[in-house]
C-alpha cells in the first residue's frame, strides 16, 4: 500500500506522481519497443490499429470525456485526414508536410463544426454531428475530381526521409507508436494547463464555468478543433495502414466504434482511451478464435458431464452453427455496449481503479465508493 501525501501544489500536476509510475510505464514502453521482434506479424499489425484507434480515442476523449461534448461524427474527421494525405501525396509532398497538413486542415474543419455546435447541447449536438458526418461522406463520394468518388483512392507507400516505410513493417509500427505517445503526452500537458482545466470545468457545469470567468464558447470551439486535429493525424496513418481509402469506410458505424472505444475504456482518462482501443481491436481476433474453438470446448464440457457422443456431436454442431452465423459480431457488440452502460459505466479503466483501491484499502473497501448518484434530470426544455 502506498499513500501519496501531496505537500506542494506541483504535486497535483506531476506527469508521474511517484517512481512506481516511471517503472511500470518504462516496462510497458520496453515491451512495446521489442514487440515487432517477438510477436507475430499479425499481432504487430493489430498493434498498429490499436495505436491508430487509441490516437482517435485520445482525441475523442478530450472532446467527450473532458469537455462533455458528445460527437458521433468523428469518422468524418478521420476521413478528412485520410483524404488530405492521399490527395497531397499525388503531388509528391513529403510525409511530414502532409501529415501536419492533414491535422491542420481537420482542426480547421473541426473548429468550423464547433462554431455551430455552440448553440446545441446534448442530443441536438449528437444529431448535428451525425448529419455533418453524413454530409462529409456524401461530399467524398461526389467530389470526384479530388476524391475519385466511390472508386476510392490508392495510397502510395509511405516514404520518410527518402526511405520507403511499408505499412506492414516494424518502422511503420514505431511511427504509429511515436505518434500515439506524443499525442498522449501532449494531451496530458494540455489537460493540466489552464485550457484543460477550463474543459473540465465546462464538462462539470457550464454555468459554474461561465461564472468563474471561463470563456465557454472559445473553449468549446478549441476542444472541437484539438479533438478533430488529433483525429485527422490518426486519419493520415489510417490511410497509410489500409493503403486504400473509399467513402464507404468512414460511416456512422466507424463513429460508433470510436464512441465504443471511449465508453468501454472509460473513466474520463487517457488510460481509458488506450484500453478501449485495445479492446475494440482485439475483440475481432478473439471472436475468430472463439468461432474455431468454442464448439469443441462446449462439446467437451458436455461430454464430461455425461452426455453421450451423439448429443455431444449435436451440441457441437449447434454451437458451431451459431458461432459462424452472419452478424454474430454485431450482436456481441450490442450486448457489450449495453452491459458496460448498465454495469460498468466507468469502463475498463474504472474497473482497474476499483481493483487498485480494493488492495489499497484492503479490509475497509466499500463497494458504495463508486456508486453512481441518480440525478433525475429535469426537463432540458426548461432552461
Amino acid at each position: 500500500m502506498r499513500f501519496l501525501f501531496k505537500t506542494e501544489y506541483e504535486d497535483d500536476i506531476k506527469l508521474f506522481p511517484h517512481s512506481g509510475y516511471v517503472v511500470s510505464y518504462g516496462i510497458l514502453l520496453a515491451f512495446l519497443l521489442i514487440a515487432p521482434f517477438v510477436l507475430s506479424s499479425y499481432l504487430v499489425s493489430q498493434l498498429v490499429f490499436v495505436c491508430i484507434y487509441a490516437t482517435v480515442g485520445v482525441g475523442l476523449m478530450i472532446l467527450t470525456g473532458f469537455t462533455g461534448q458528445a460527437s458521433l461524427g468523428h469518422a468524418a474527421f478521420l476521413a478528412i485526414g485520410a483524404y488530405t494525405a492521399a490527395y497531397l501525396q499525388q503531388f509528391n509532398v513529403p510525409f511530414p508536410v502532409y501529415f501536419l497538413a492533414g491535422g491542420l486542415l481537420t482542426g480547421v474543419v473541426g473548429a468550423l463544426v464547433g462554431f455551430p455546435a455552440l448553440r446545441l447541447t446534448g442530443i441536438y449536438l449528437v444529431i448535428a454531428t451525425i448529419s455533418f458526418a453524413f454530409i462529409v461522406e456524401e461530399v467524398l463520394a461526389r467530389w470526384e475530381s479530388v476524391t475519385h468518388g466511390n472508386e476510392g483512392m490508392r495510397v502510395k507507400t509511405l516514404s520518410l526521409f527518402g526511405q520507403a516505410v511499408p505499412q506492414n513493417g516494424p518502422t511503420f509500427y514505431y511511427l504509429c507508436l511515436a505518434v500515439l505517445i506524443l499525442t498522449i503526452v501532449g494531451a496530458l500537458n494540455l489537460l493540466r494547463s489552464p485550457t484543460g482545466r477550463a474543459f473540465v470545468a465546462i464538462r462539470d457545469s457550464e454555468t459554474a464555468a461561465r461564472s468563474m470567468g471561463v470563456n465557454v464558447s472559445l473553449y468549446k470551439v478549441k476542444s472541437f478543433a484539438i479533438s478533430a486535429a488529433i483525429t485527422g493525424l490518426a486519419g493520415v496513418l489510417f490511410a497509410h495502414k489500409l493503403s486504400f481509402i473509399s467513402p464507404e469506410m468512414f460511416t456512422l458505424q466507424l463513429s460508433i466504434e470510436f464512441i465504443i472505444v471511449i465508453l468501454i475504456g472509460g473513466a474520463f482518462s487517457l488510460h481509458g482511451a488506450v484500453l478501449g482501443a485495445i479492446f475494440l481491436v482485439m475483440i475481432d481476433p478473439f471472436l475468430t478464435y472463439l468461432k474455431d474453438d468454442l464448439p469443441g470446448i462446449i462439446a467437451g464440457i458436455a461430454a464430461t458431464f455425461g452426455a453421450d457422443s451423439i448429443t455431444a456431436a449435436k451440441i457441437h454442431g449447434n454451437v458451431a452453427a451459431i458461432a459462424s452465423a452472419n452478424g454474430l459480431k454485431g450482436a456481441i457488440y450490442g450486448v457489450i455496449i449495453v452491459l458496460f452502460v448498465l454495469f460498468e459505466p466507468l469502463g475498463l479503466y474504472g474497473r482497474w481503479l476499483k481493483i487498485k483501491l480494493f488492495f489499497q484499502l484492503f479490509p475497509l473497501y466499500k463497494r458504495a465508493t463508486f456508486k453512481r448518484q441518480k440525478i433525475y434530470v429535469k426537463s432540458e426544455r426548461n432552461r
Binding site: I127, I135, L328, G330, G334, V338, K374
Partner: protein, 291 residues
Amino acid sequence: MLDFVQQLVSGIALGCVYGLIALGFVLIYKATEVVNFAQGDLMMLGGFFAFTFIGMLGLNYWLGFAGAVIAMALFGMLAERVVVRPILGYPQFSIIMATIGLGYFLRSVVGMIWGTDDFKIETPFSDGVLRIGSLVLAYDKLSVIAATIILCALLYLFFNRTTLGTAMRASSENMLAAYYMGIPVKRVVSIVWAIAAAVATAAGVLLAPITFIHSNVGLVLGLKAFPAAVLGGFGSIPGAVVGGVLIGVIESMAGFYLPQGWKDVAPYIVLLVVLLLKPEGLFGVHMRKKV
C-alpha cells in the same frame, strides 16, 4: 406540373413513414427526455414480425398486423425493463449509448434469424391505383398517409385528453416531482415504450409495400427520422409528422430536380440549417425557467 404533384404525393407518403418513426422518438422523448436510437430498429423488427405472421404463417393481413403490433408492444416493454429502467435517471449519454447498443443487437440478431435478404409483405393495398384525371396515385402510398393521420390524431387525443397522457407529460417535465405526486413513473415509462414500439410496428408494416423489409432498413430510415423530429421540434407530436412530411417532400424534390447525390444530403442540410436558426424546431416550445 403533373410530375410535380406526383413527386409531391410520393414525397408526402415517404414523409409520413419518417413521421411515424419520428413519432416514436417524440413519444419516448416526451415521457423520459431520452432519445431512443433503436427506434428505427424497432420498426424493422415489427416489420419482420408482421412478415412472419402474414408471409410465413399465412395469417390474414389485419390479423397479422394486430399480432405484430401486440407482440412489439410487449417487446417494447421488455426492452424498457431490461435496458432502460436500470439507468433511468442517469445522464442522457448513457441511455443514448444503451439504445445504440440495443439497435446494434436487434439488427444483427434479425440478420441471423431471418437472413439479410429483402422481404416483401403482401397487403390489400399492394396493387391498384387511384386515377384522378391523368394523376396516378398508388393505394399503398395513400394508405400510409391515411394511417399516419389517424395515428397522429389518436396520440394527440391520448396525450391531451387522458389521465395517462397527462401523467406522461408530467413525468417528462420533472421525473422526481411526478414521482412524489403519486405518478407511477416506472409504469408510465414502460407504457410509453410499448406505445412507441407499437407505432414503429405500424410504420414498418405500412412501409413494407413501398420499401422492402431488410435488416438494415431501420438504421437507414431511423436516421432520416432524426431530421424530421428535430425539424418539428422534439417533443411535439404534430411537429413530428409535419417535420416528417417536409423531409419526405424535400428528399423527393431534391431527387427529382437536383443532381444526383443531393437526395441523400438534402434532409441533413435542412436539419443543420434548422438547428442553427431555430434549435427548438418549428413546433417546439422554447420555455424559460422562472427563478
